[in-house]
Symmetry: C2
Subunit: 270 residues, 2 copies
């Protein structure tokens, strides 16, 4: 043991948010840290194209968890971080979205710090915010929604989060992650609160080429999502801001085909 301790490196852990999926939606700082990493531990929702920023001699380990394909337990990931920090030096923990939004980033950070390992955070773009934005759904809009509430559809006990019942009573735009398997329960809760007519969008694989979206309202979204075969990973957005979506208004965007209004143009140019 003393022999092992004598060879330990100082070690460092950097938690990096990979963003929602599109590899160009990582931050500049994130790519720089990837280039400096001795070891990268990455999750299922991370785009593997990001590993191209790493040195060729960096150790790259997939530690993702997928339903029915359990790769590493949280305790094993914590251990890997500490082990590699001491044996190789700089460990980068690359997580989908932002490391602190419905990830267990804090547990990993605290475990590493309990060994005296220096830690740093580089935030990432959370899918909760970016995926609706990319669909031109604003999470807030003056006079429509003054706030947004981000909730997990499935808690650690596998049941529906009690926050969803409170959210259904609020005027916030409600964004539910990991909720497609609970869609029936979610719409039931919103209906019970008189929100059957509130617009809903479900966006699967947001920011990626295979992105799919379906829109409806609380009453209709379940059957629409079945018909359009929308599944996980997906984000559910419930609120009047979804009306901003042209598709829902039956108002298909005709980009560059609308004649500029000459009266307004004149006022702008003259």
């Amino acid at each position: 043991m003393n022999h092992v301790l004598g060879q330990l490196k100082k070690g460092k852990l950097t938690m990096v948010g990979a963003g929602p999926g599109d590899p160009e939606l990582i931050t500049l700082k994130g790519t720089k840290v990837l280039a400096a990493a001795d070891v990268v531990l990455y999750d299922a929702l991370v785009n593997e194209a990001l590993l191209e920023y790493c040195r060729s001699d960096a150790v790259k380990i997939y530690v993702g968890k997928r339903v029915g394909d359990h790769k590493y337990s949280q305790a094993e990931i914590n251990e890997l971080i500490v082990r590699y920090a001491f044996s190789h030096g700089h460990v980068v923990r690359l997580k989908g979205g932002d490391p602190f939004v419905f990830g267990r980033g804090m547990e990993e950070l605290e475990f590493a710090e309990s060994f005296g390992i220096e830690t740093e955070i580089i935030p990432g773009i959370s899918s909760a915010v970016a995926v609706p934005s990319l669909q031109k759904i604003p999470l807030t809009a003056r006079g429509v929604a003054e706030s947004f509430w981000v909730i997990t559809g499935t808690t650690r006990f596998g049941n529906i989060s009690p926050d969803i019942a409170l959210a259904a009573k609020s005027s916030a735009t409600v964004i539910i992650l990991m909720g497609t398997r609970k869609l029936r329960e979610i719409v039931t809760i919103f209906c019970r609160n008189g929100k059957g007519g509130t617009p809903v969008a479900i966006i699967q694989n947001g920011s990626l080429p295979e992105e799919k979206i379906c829109v409806g309202n609380v009453d209709t979204i379940e059957s629409i999502s079945i018909k359009e075969q929308i599944g996980a990973p997906a984000i559910i957005v419930i609120g009047d801001v979804v009306k901003a979506l042209k598709k829902l208004r039956g108002d298909q965007p005709k980009l560059n085909s609308i004649a500029p209004d000459e009266v307004i143009l004149k006022s702008i140019f003259e």
Copy 2:
């Protein structure tokens, strides 16, 4: 007028989120679009270091609004976008954080689209998520908070958002932007809901070198923030997740000074 219309370019508007302040927290995609821009219209909260990604011949216009220093009205900004899209081509609208979180990005987008101008969104890291993350405050944590609610402290009418009273009843981590001027009203609402002992952090200039933070609980944060001279722009985080902050636990981080627990180390290495 016909003379003017004959010279019009096709035009394009790209809304780009600049992130929370640190210029390295913009996305790769954001820097690429800045490099391609013919015109950049940027806000007060945007780090001017980002303008270095622009071509030297790009037109760069500050359209920021600051209290007591009103530069451009929203209508004027909308007009500038359309005017420059037709006269110069590709307009980038660079906004602090994410363009669709408490910005008026949607209004600008719709105005441009009504002239047939093609639009695109590049999301940015919202301060609401990143600034707590950078302080190692997780917005969600298993068994502590299953959701987070992002609210503006000041509505367009200048009064406090009614959502704050609902948030005080919820179990969500509550993040209030633009709320420091309403701090007394906010803490009064939380106290009325029996939350006097809930931890609070206020972070000013998050992600920048001049970042400042103060921590306390709902009962004490107002006097602490006055003593520590925390002012706008700042983010208020209310919830038990703030306990993760070492400062609050009186548990100053002693990075690389803690001796690794030999028993655990042994179990990891052997």
